[in-house]
Symmetry: C2
């Protein structure tokens, strides 16, 4: 089957790649960050705002959309991009992550994942074949094969059996695919065990996927283990296809992962943190709640020229946040996504000019180290999607 | 004291007036609807969006802003318009309405209203003088004298004593005023008693206010009583000053009130209804929740060209609303405020061309009668602001 996407590497700098990814709905320059639009909306944002920040590719979730409004409805409405009014492309995650994050309402067998709808308790059997069918109905530019996202911690045997299941499901996903106009990515697992990561890479890259994702990271493991596994996996992936590091991460993580040769990223950090009053700035994260901002007439980040930074002071944003105003979530989300978009644009330019290493060092020095472990999602986090 | 505003009537048609109201921050053409921005934000909207819909004057609330962030803070930040980043003017309500809507946490005496903060229970004494001082600090273009908003129902004696208190407070408000750069409006009361409405009009219009507001309506009384009292009060108001009908109302109410000679309006309907999934359309109100919209690819209102109607289908908005997405509140709020803004623009044009009566009949016929009594605010409504 001819690939539904074209991936052209325009420049490399060390391991880092600057490339063009052409999908049925958009041309995306990479490295690219995908804002998370779980339920066919990036929380608090309008599609034209994402577009004007430069985003051409966003992520949505097959499981959530199959539950509501239903994949067939989205198909009838012309597919996800059309349904959302988004002038761009959509990648859909398959639901394997939700099998972990919503673990209380599902069970995993060889055939697939049995969900109880988080809305009404009705049963949904997500097999690799069903996940493909749903994503075909959703009209995703890029579909993800159903995997079992190995939770952390997992002992070696557990991680190994999870990986084997993911490999079987990957083959079944390839077989189930019908639509020529949609790309399909496979997902690597292997927890924090180097030999399992290698094995998973060999299994998945031997199949005819259009691109490869590394999963099962940023699920609670130590930051160094995340980076080691990401680096190891990247080296096992073919150079001529897109590489997607799932669920990562902080700006610092992205800078490191770009150097490893990753092209695509997604993470709830910029959007979720925004709703919790936390902003990414050129000098690190700030919490808008701080009493120090009561009379602060400066923008969130004096070096930023996003729309909120051109309009609002920290004092006003603090007031909005404490008052529970929707505009606080909007402004901080827009600011954070602008920050991530600019980070990617600057990384692309640095790779093109072969100055990526200096660029990354400079930025890491400005940003400082994030003070949290790579633990964006775990079962105790009721915000997990 | 020279007035801080200029009010020039450009055309009349029957009782209806088309005028220009120039305040320190903006020129407003009237009849004008003021979106409600209680806490210095119109819920779900950004100030530049209000501006691009044509809004030059919005309403904020002195009591709420005195509690948080504090009027002095707003003063230090350059006043409300500057604080909000709003390129326009602000009218502040004094807090008299909150004395009624938050009745559990206040008591009213001759001197003023004793509030317990709805946030932390701390005491706040709102006298007519304090209300002026707060509004001067807030830098409102138009300040409102503190009144007692007579609740409904009120027996004649209660309504009379409430009216007398409001008259005393009106005099004290005039005396307390210091800032030359801010206009001050007086408020009429009188419940549903015609002679009390007349008496209140005589009392308040005898004082040196820059404009006059009719209060104590849309608080639970029958729709016809509201319209009768509004019509009666309008006739008692001087022709050369702005007339503001507070808290009203539906598009149908506005059309009627414009014919009576009112110039300014505010109401939570377009914004609150939006957050509850209800949209004003050229064919009446619709609820976006309806199952009929599951596959409906049409915009909210096919005759509307607001930004949401150019971007989103009913099917998508229904999905967003049921998913609790902020974008649903944003899109419906923007649509409803656009509907109100257009209603006012068209009313202005109709008055200018002396076709107001035909215009209003045409629209009333399209819109149908609203099916609810004039009861936007009562003590059982926990959303009361």
């Amino acid at each position: 089957m001819a690939s539904a996407i074209r991936f052209d590497i325009r420049a490399t700098d060390g391991g880092a790649r600057f490339a063009s990814l052409v999908t049925p709905h958009a041309e995306v320059t990479t490295p690219a960050f995908m804002p998370v639009g779980t339920r066919a909306a990036v929380k608090a944002m309008a599609p034209d705002e994402l577009r004007s920040m430069g985003y051409r590719l966003i992520l949505a979730n097959a499981y959530h959309l199959a539950v509501r409004p239903g994949a067939r409805i989205v198909r009838e409405m012309g597919g996800l991009a059309q349904f959302m009014g988004f002038d761009g492309a959509v990648l859909t995650d398959s639901g394997g992550f939700q099998a972990m994050s919503l673990a209380k309402i599902n069970s995993i067998g060889t055939d697939g994942i049995k969900f109880r709808s988080h809305l009404d308790g009705s049963a949904l059997m997500l097999t690799p074949e069903a996940a493909i069918e749903i994503q075909q109905d959703l009209g995703a530019d890029i579909m993800m094969a159903l995997d079992e996202c190995t939770p952390y911690p997992a002992d070696y045997e557990r991680a190994q059996s999870s990986l084997e299941l993911t490999a079987q499901w990957a083959e079944r996903s390839i077989m189930a695919r019908r639509s020529e106009g949609q790309a399909l990515f496979g997902i690597l697992q292997g927890s924090i065990y180097p030999d399992l990561r290698r094995r998973s890479a060999m299994q998945i890259t031997s199949l005819g996927f259009d691109g490869f994702a590394v999963g099962g990271l940023s699920v609670g493991e130590p930051k160094q283990a995340m980076r080691d596994m990401a680096a190891l996996s990247a080296m096992m992936l073919p150079a001529d296809k897109p590489r997607y590091l799932m669920g990562v991460g902080t700006p610092q993580d992205l800078l490191a992962a770009i150097a490893m040769g990753y092209d695509l990223f997604d993470c709830v950090l910029p959007t979720r943190n925004a709703r919790n009053g936390s902003a990414f700035t050129s000098e690190g994260r700030i919490s808008i709640k701080r009493a120090a901002y009561i009379r602060d007439g400066q923008p969130l980040d004096p070096r930023c020229d996003c729309r909120p930074c051109r309009q609002f002071s920290r004092a006003y944003l603090r007031h909005l946040y404490l008052s529970g105003e929707i505009l606080a979530a909007r402004a901080l989300t827009e600011h954070n996504l602008f920050f991530y978009a600019r980070l990617m644009r600057e990384a692309q330019a640095a790779i093109a000019s072969r100055t990526y290493k200096a660029f990354a060092s400079y930025l890491l020095n400005l940003l400082g180290e994030p003070n949290k472990p790579a633990n964006l999602t775990n079962k105790n986090n009721k915000n997990a999607v």
